[in-house]
Amino acid sequence: MAQKDTFFADTYGIAPGNLEQYLAAALSDGGDYADLYFEHTTTSSVMMDESLVKSASEGISMGCGVRVLAGEQTGYAYTDDLEPAKILKAARIAARIASGPARVSTVGLSAVEPPRNFYPVASAPTDRGLEEKLNLVRRADAAARAYDPRIQQVRVSYGDQIRHVLIVGSDGRAVPDIQPLVRLSVFAIARQNGSFHSGSYGGGGRVGLEFFADDHSPEHYAREAARQAIVQLGAREAPAGEMEVVLAPGWPGILLHEAIGHGLEADFNRKGISAFSGRVGQRVASEMCTVVDDGTVPARRGSLNVDDEGAPTRQTVLIESGILRGYMQDKLSAGLTRAERTGNGRRESYEHIPMPRMTNTYMLAGQEDPQEIIRSVKRGLYAVYFGGGQVDITNGKFVFSASEAYVIENGKITAPVKGATLIGDGPTVLTCVTAVGNDLRLDPGIGTCGKDGQSVPVGVGIPTIKVSQLTVGGTAPRASSSFS
């Protein structure tokens, strides 16, 4: 193959002739389409706890997944051994999803370079010396401890990976990619009068180690984690019940991921089991809301040059001025519903069947001044940071859990409150958006999304927004003194 990245050919001697043979075996029982996903991932991580570098770890996982599509059916097999006999065996197992004589053949593979490189890094983080990585965790540890004498415990973890992939389809396309991924995270515990509170923060992306400077410096992450832990020391009970909620920019974009993102994945909609099924063209948000999924934001954690089925990623408009425009597609769903592929076919690794997944999901900036938005609230909640969220895509109910939030009283942010889960209804929550700020921000780059047991790195983003009605799951009834 004439491709620039020849990792699998060079390292494992995998030649075009082999690939055609594997595809032929995969299609030998009459499948419509087959693809091979070669993966070689190396990881390294270091962890500092109690100011000691307690662990350093490296790893290699590699293998090949063979998929065969026959109508709506998928056959899948994988091997962690790249010997031709093993791959052929996997191909024959995957082939059995179909029944009949071979109908498709692949002659002449052509190497297709990804159209653009959204993550050029000077040197792969996995190749950099361990000392450099240790230095990052040491700096974070020192900065978190120096932030406040009440910081008692600090744990810092650094992890990186470099993933080489080669995706070969029976349509004759062979697409290689090299995908770096790095993260640095800090967890801090503060103590006061015998009570303990925690904070966590971090960042990363498809970047090299030079990323961790300025706003991405270990010190910045550490101070942010320590600051959250200290704020929580003074937190009162969170309010309970429906109220006006203002979301800060950045991380709170997890609202979009849970409330609408999963519900707009094409597999659920093709099967008619999503609360959004059949609703393209309908109003699902206030006209201030335009939401996109964008796999092309340079260096972002959720970005990819090509998805895990070899299709180029792109920016897909999900909601335009409040109207639902379309779904996130993988090859199977796009083919069955005659829709365009959107580069959202993703998988955790060669051991997994690809499916529609988000990349970076965010809402475009609006017009309003964020300070004005806060001033417009008489009584409500201002939510700054969130932990995880979850959704039932069939009834549309979703949750996301605030880890740092404040009460807004008469247009002013006042007391911090304990963490609380917010719950809402995906298809209607965005219709209650009554203000969109001009301050779009993306999350810091440590998000991971789970679906059907598969984890993939993703991003979210949002400007400051106001939601007129959302249920806040605190413990303090509205009439009580802690919220009046």
Partner: protein, 450 residues
């Protein structure tokens, strides 16, 4: 690969590491055959089959350590792995508590824990497919309102795990598990609800009948139709067994030694204190036959045993691996747990809340106004502070009867208070994983809705 060969690979790795300069080392090697078939709307949707293997090595140079893993078992790959791990160990910190267990702490449980049954691997693809088909069919034909499905899945894993260390310990065991699950979708007017049910077992022959699983899943989905939101209130909450299990899971997170020594648990520093009502006893049983958390030795070679965690409300023991035990000046409880990557963490054996006297039906009858929770979503649990706030769905209880389904609500409180206010514990306890609980009734929670 025969089990003995896995053990041989583990021993070889340890030996190579020691020869290369490690003062101590241990290794895990595992292998598994994975199978999964999903049937959706009566047709095969996907069929997956594969064999995989992986190994992990941990080395010590004095009191410094490092670890590595690989799915590539070739000699050059392993040579490099050993060499790299030794290099890494030289630059980590001296940690006085690091190290393997003492040689006298090592050993195997002698009896047969019945973790492997040949009937799982012996099932033909057709038989597996048939189980999934029957489960989905039972759900689809249960009621005309079941109009769609996310499918029924049969999956199985059979494999073996080996562990060896430089104290001379070497052991391995085989295991099998299989599961059958179904996710039907019920439709009523404009509303749509899905729910699931499943059965999981180490022996295929002891799985629940597919028809029973399908019917139960369908009944659960139909029960959710017409769910409404309720007003914010403070009422008694009954957690069914599936949701009570998640609460007991939070108790596990709070008693794991690696959280305790970092003060990252609301139960840190509370040993021998009353942390729950006298009716609460929580055990971690490593010897349960065919238990999902049972194994003859843990991932550091410490033999299986049972630990009383909470006895009549008194916190008796934390769950520990060797490192956490040394940090807390205690002895390991044999709860070391590791995949192949990284150092051992702490995992549950068979961790459960001891059952009480009440049938769930009786518990519901005794509530005048309250909530039966059947589903919890989200991650709003803070183990450091014990603050608890999660999304919930279930049934409203009015005068001892299930009145109507509710959704889009949260329940919130704190775990320390919840443990003290478990007023009733159910008698129905079933192990469907390594953590189990009977239904429980908890007072004092805030239900947030309208």
């Amino acid at each position: 690969m025969p089990q003995e060969q896995l053990e041989q690979i583990a021993n070889d790795l340890v030996e190579r590491a020691v020869r290369g300069g490690a003062s101590a080392a241990d290794a895990v090697v595992s292998e598994a055959d994975e199978f999964s078939v999903t049937v959706r709307m009566r047709h095969i949707e996907s069929l997956k089959e594969a064999a995989s293997k992986a190994l992990g090595l941990r080395v010590f140079i004095g009191q410094r350590s490092a670890s590595s893993y690989s799915s590539d078992f070739s000699k050059p790959a392993l040579d490099r792995l050993v060499e790299r791990t030794l290099v890494m160990a030289k630059i980590t910190s001296e940690d006085p508590q690091s190290g393997l267990p003492e040689a006298r702490e090592l050993g195997h449980y002698d009896g047969d824990l019945q973790l492997y049954f040949g009937d799982v691997a012996a099932l033909s693809t057709t038989e597996r497919l048939d189980l999934a088909r029957r489960a989905e069919e039972a759900a689809l034909s249960f009621n005309p309102r079941i109009q769609n499905s996310e499918g029924a899945t049969f999956d199985s894993t059979t494999g073996a795990k080996a562990y060896a260390n430089s104290h001379g310990f070497s052991g391995s065991y085989r295991f099998s598990t299989c599961a059958l699950s179904v996710v039907p979708v019920a439709v009523n007017g404009g509303g749509m609800q899905r729910d699931y049910w499943y059965s999981v077992a180490r022996q295929a022959g002891t799985l629940d009948p597919p028809e029973a699983i399908g019917r139960k899943a369908a009944a659960r989905a139909i029960a959710k139709l017409g769910a409404r939101k309720i007003g914010t209130c403070r009422v008694p909450v009954i957690f069914d067994a599936e949701t009570a299990r998640t609460l007991v899971g939070h108790v596990f997170e709070a008693v794991r030694g690696d959280s305790v020594y970092r003060s990252a648990s609301f139960l840190a520093g509370k040993l021998d204190e009353q942390v729950a009502g006298e009716n609460v006893t929580v055990l971690d049983d490593g010897l349960r036959l065919s238990g999902f958390g049972s194994r003859p030795f843990d991932d550091e070679g410490v033999p299986a045993s049972s630990t009383a965690v909470i006895e009549n409300g008194l916190l008796r023991n934390y769950l520990l691996n060797t490192y956490a035990a040394r940090k807390l000046h205690l002895r390991t409880t044999g709860n070391a747990s590791r995949g192949v990557a990284g150092p051992p963490a702490v995992g549950p054996k068979n961790f459960y809340l001891a059952p009480g006297k009440h049938l769930l039906a009786e518990m519901i009858r005794s509530v005048k106004q309250g909530l039966l929770v059947t589903e919890l979503i989200g991650f709003g649990v803070n183990i450091v502070t014990g603050d608890y706030s999660r999304g919930a769905a279930g049934m409203w209880i009015e005068n001892g009867e299930l009145a109507y389904p509710v959704e889009e609500i949260t329940i919130a409180g704190t775990l320390p208070e919840m443990l003290r206010h478990i007023t009733e514990i159910g008698s129905e306890l079933e192990f469907r994983g390594s953590i189990a609980a009977p239904p429980i009734r908890v007072e004092g929670l805030t239900v947030a809705g309208l």
